[in-house]
């Protein structure tokens, strides 16, 4: 029986249990006055729960151990004695036989796997039947036991609610599991990388050219300093040089000067800027901005004007960040107590003097926190640099020259045709770990700055 049909069957059993238990519980109501702790539907849910949960838990466990059981059964057959000793060959033959048995493949490289395939299919169908029977029995037994407990005095509600609470807790634990998954996967792969390349060589080496890796000394071509510089140059210097003045001034204008109507139209417009997908910005940067920047560089007489310049990627990234900076600045400006502003105006200061001397200094921690968050977002941004920045790492201060970033290199390293274990792909995870740690630090610092400042005014 196919897995989907089995799931439907069990779900149908659960539904039947729900309906029957609910009907039975509803009849209690007609009995002479008594206090009930549960509604009929609670009894229904209680029975449905006991029908579904044991069967599903069993199937989940079975699903993870069944392949090993099937393989053991195949090895135990007389044909299995002909298998080579454990190793790559044995695994290859078994996996071929499995593919043949499942109909995923039509021919086999090893003649033995063709002979094993029928045994495989037989073992698989035998175990499938066992699983189906046990699952259905569990569903039925669970449902029946639960149904016998449906009595007027039975508190089905508290049982059901306990399970619901459990579900809620599990749902919120998934966030922790994801975080652990990220940290673990990055750490494990990076640890493997640092066995090949010393961590100091990776963090402080100044030469990055993964295209030509010397197998005897892979670390010599995997020094990440040019990438860190490129990322910092594009994300923290050029992009912020665009985003901070524009975002801050937009926020000031829209909150302090603009007419209500202007504000109502311009704010959503800025938000659209934030909603444009990064791949669109990347395409725009590569197609329109980059050639313009190169022409500008040539016109200015810059020697290494590249069509994959840091400036093009940085400017477009800055534009993408404007709404982010603007909304952070907006929040912190409006958190400044009105009395400070009124006091300054009452002393005869003009609006701009009030803003520059009173509001902005008072809101500065919030603005700085917002800029830090913006930097963390900019250095983690991928598509703009993948499409508009260069793949060649260089330590340069020239914004018209080509530079590369950490995210661009991660994409380049992992979308090649290299196998999963080479120093190149592992290097991508080491870069990912670095990126993760840096963005995490930036976020933590930003949050601390913002929180401390908020406390000061509340």
């Amino acid at each position: 029986m196919s897995a989907l049909a089995l799931l439907f069957l069990i779900a149908a059993l659960g539904l039947i249990g729900w309906v029957v238990a609910r009907a039975r519980a509803a009849r209690f109501r007609s009995s002479p006055a008594r206090r009930f702790s549960s509604l009929p539907q609670h009894h229904g849910w209680y029975v449905a729960m006991w029908t579904l949960l044991p069967a599903f838990v069993f199937l989940a466990i079975w699903h993870s151990v069944a392949p090993a059981l099937v393989t053991d059964a195949v090895i135990a057959t007389p044909l299995g004695a002909a298998l080579p000793p454990p190793g790559l060959d044995r695994a290859a033959i078994l996996s071929e036989a499995r593919n043949l048995a499942n109909g995923d493949a039509w021919g086999a490289f090893h003649p033995l796997s063709e002979r094993l395939a029928p045994a495989y299919a037989a073992a698989q169908s035998r175990y499938d039947w066992i699983a189906t029977t046990v699952a259905l029995l569990l569903a039925f037994a669970g449902g029946a036991v639960a149904f016998l407990r449906v009595r007027p005095g039975f508190s089905a509600r508290s049982q059901v609610e306990r399970v619901v609470m459990g579900l809620l807790l599990i749902a919120s634990l998934i966030a922790i599991v994801t975080t652990i998954g990220i940290v673990a996967s990055l750490l494990v792969e990076s640890a493997r990388f640092f066995q090949i390349v010393p961590i100091t060589q990776f963090l402080f080496g100044t030469h990055w050219s993964p295209q030509v890796i010397d197998a005897r000394d892979p670390g010599a071509a995997l020094g990440a300093v040019p990438l860190f510089w490129g990322t910092f140059f594009i994300g923290a210097i050029i992009a912020m040089a665009v985003a901070v003045p524009l975002g801050l001034m937009s926020a000031i204008y829209l909150t302090q000067y603009a007419h209500q109507t202007t504000r109502r139209w311009m704010k959503p417009m800025l938000e659209i800027l934030a909603g444009v997908p990064t791949v669109v910005y990347g395409y725009f940067a590569a197609l329109t901005v980059a050639p313009a920047v190169r022409d500008l560089g040539v016109a200015l007489g810059v020697r290494w004007a590249s069509s994959e310049s840091a400036l093009a990627a940085g400017v477009v990234m800055g534009v993408m960040i404007i709404p982010f900076v603007s909304s952070m600045a907006d929040d912190s400006l409006s958190a400044v107590p009105a009395s400070m502003r009124d006091g300054s105006l009452a002393m005869g200061a003009t609006s701009s003097e009030t803003i520059r001397r009173v509001l902005v200094p008072a809101a500065l921690p919030g603005v700085v926190g917002g800029v830090l968050l913006a930097v963390s977002r900019a250095i983690g941004e991928t598509m703009i640099v993948v499409m508009a920045a260069s793949g060649v790492a260089s330590l340069t201060l020239n914004p018209f020259a080509s530079t590369t970033t950490v995210t661009k290199q991660i994409v380049d390293l992992l979308t090649g045709e290299a196998e999963f274990d080479s120093a190149k792909t592992l290097a991508a995870f080491a870069l990912g770990l670095t990126l993760f740690v840096i963005t995490l630090l930036l976020n933590v610092v930003a949050l601390i700055v913002v929180r401390r400042y908020r406390e000061a005014y509340e």
Binding site: I174, T178, V386, V411
Partner: protein, 422 residues
């Protein structure tokens, strides 16, 4: 008293002196400059957005049209197919087997020998003839003229962006060429020939991915928001949950791609490039967004609602699921739509898990190799053929329209259903 008397007598400022007048003028000038800077900042941001949209529309509009050539066809004797074969599912096979493609190419060679012959036609031209024949089998038994799509060079030249050679061909063909809506762009999948490439394959991949994302991220996100806001005791564990959710919301998307690569593909051996892996990865990314939006919506429900329900004898679960959740739902839905829109526009994590393959057929199942619209845009933008430039921009227009619709829906929901508590 003495002190005040000791200080020199304070005179009111005389604002009429020239020095003071100058100073006031300077201060007002500074005020105007500052204000102008603010206007300029808003203006520059808006101008950039308008320029971006105008560029995309200007380049992409022609991607929705195709150039057609009026091709005289006489298929009598060249393509022999019995009427019985033409009705039913075997028609495609029968026509292909009867040499329709060669017959169409030969017709082009006969009709336009000097202008380029069969090189004028798109790879998909004979498919158009095939579909016409399936609709009306009589076309096989009479000389006819059919509009068929032209090759990409001619297409570009007719739209005014071709090279000299193809522009000469266009000039020679003159009245035989016409323009029409490129239906294939909305129904086809990726192809190596730009005139045959369509976005339906990528759009369907996006759809399947989003279904997985929504099915996982929405329930998990809402349930954890409910737990954290309504039930969680304040202790080290719930603090840990909160911190991880807030951090996950700020983790760069490419890191989620690395997670998907290492865990879903590396450890669990899920199908590479499958929509299910993409959906799982994006779900992990979208979940924190939904949790944060959900918590804000849940806190906005006033405590008096909860107190009233408790007072009437509702259990804690009933309070939340019968009262708090329905009231918070509009806010949660708004946050969910915004999170889904972000996931729909996401590219980088999907590149990591191999959804960048060339997919020539729309995916049918969650485990089939698939690509999504933003990745398709990325792939086309990398293509060297000039015909793909307008296709890229056209695909961007479609993506932006979908995203703006989603965001508009979110804003509408917020305005329409959000209860303003006093």
């Amino acid at each position: 008293m003495n002190k005040r008397a000791a200080s020199p007598a304070r005179q009111p400022t005389d604002w009429q002196t020239p020095a003071m007048q100058r100073r006031v003028r300077r201060r007002y000038a500074a005020e105007r400059r500052f204000r102008a800077m603010g206007v300029a900042a808003v203006f520059v941001s808006a101008a950039f957005l308008i320029y971006l949209l105008a560029t995309m529309i200007g380049q992409g509009a022609s991607g929705f049209t195709e150039t057609r050539l009026a091709l005289p066809l006489d298929l009598r004797g060249h393509v022999v197919v019995s009427p019985a074969q033409l009705s039913g599912p075997t028609a495609d096979l029968a026509l292909a087997g009867a040499g329709l493609e060669n017959a169409v190419d030969a017709a082009a060679d006969r009709a336009f020998p000097t202008q380029g012959g069969e090189a004028l036609l798109s790879d998909g031209a004979w498919l158009r003839v095939r579909d016409a024949i399936k609709r009306d089998p009589h076309l096989l038994s009479a000389p006819i003229t059919l509009d068929v799509p032209v090759a990409t060079d001619i297409d570009m030249a007719y739209k005014g962006e071709g090279n000299r050679e193809s522009e000469a061909a266009v000039a020679a063909l003159g009245p035989h060429l016409s323009r029409g809506l490129n239906v294939n762009f909305f129904t086809g999948a990726d192809a190596t020939d730009p005139t045959r490439a369509g976005i339906w394959g990528a759009l369907k991949g996006s759809l399947l991915t989003m279904v997985v994302t929504l099915a996982l991220a929405f329930p998990i996100g809402v349930l954890s928001a409910l737990y954290l806001e309504e039930y969680a005791p304040r202790n080290r564990w719930t603090d840990l949950i909160e911190v991880s959710i807030n951090n996950l919301a700020a983790v760069p998307s490419i890191i989620f791609g690395l997670l998907g690569l290492a865990v879903f593909l590396g450890t669990f051996h899920m199908p590479r490039s499958g929509a299910i892996v993409g959906g799982l990865t994006l779900a992990l990314m979208t979940m924190p967004v939904i949790v944060i939006a959900g918590r804000n919506a849940i806190t906005a429900v006033p405590p008096s609602i909860r107190d009233a329900a408790r007072a009437l004898g509702a259990s804690p679960i009933q309070v939340v699921f019968h009262h708090v959740l329905p009231l918070a739902l509009p806010g949660i839905l708004t946050g969910t739509i915004i999170g889904m829109a972000r996931a729909l526009g996401e590219t980088a994590p999907l590149l990591m898990i191999g959804m960048r393959a060339f997919i020539a057929a729309p995916p049918g199942r969650l485990t089939d190799p698939a690509t999504v619209l933003p990745v398709q845009i990325f792939l086309w933008s990398d293509d060297v053929q000039t015909g793909f430039v307008e296709k890229t921009s056209a695909a961007i227009i479609v993506l932006l329209v979908v995203l703006l619709t989603m965001n508009g829906l979110a804003i509408y929901l917020r305005n329409r259903f959000e209860t303003r508590w006093k």
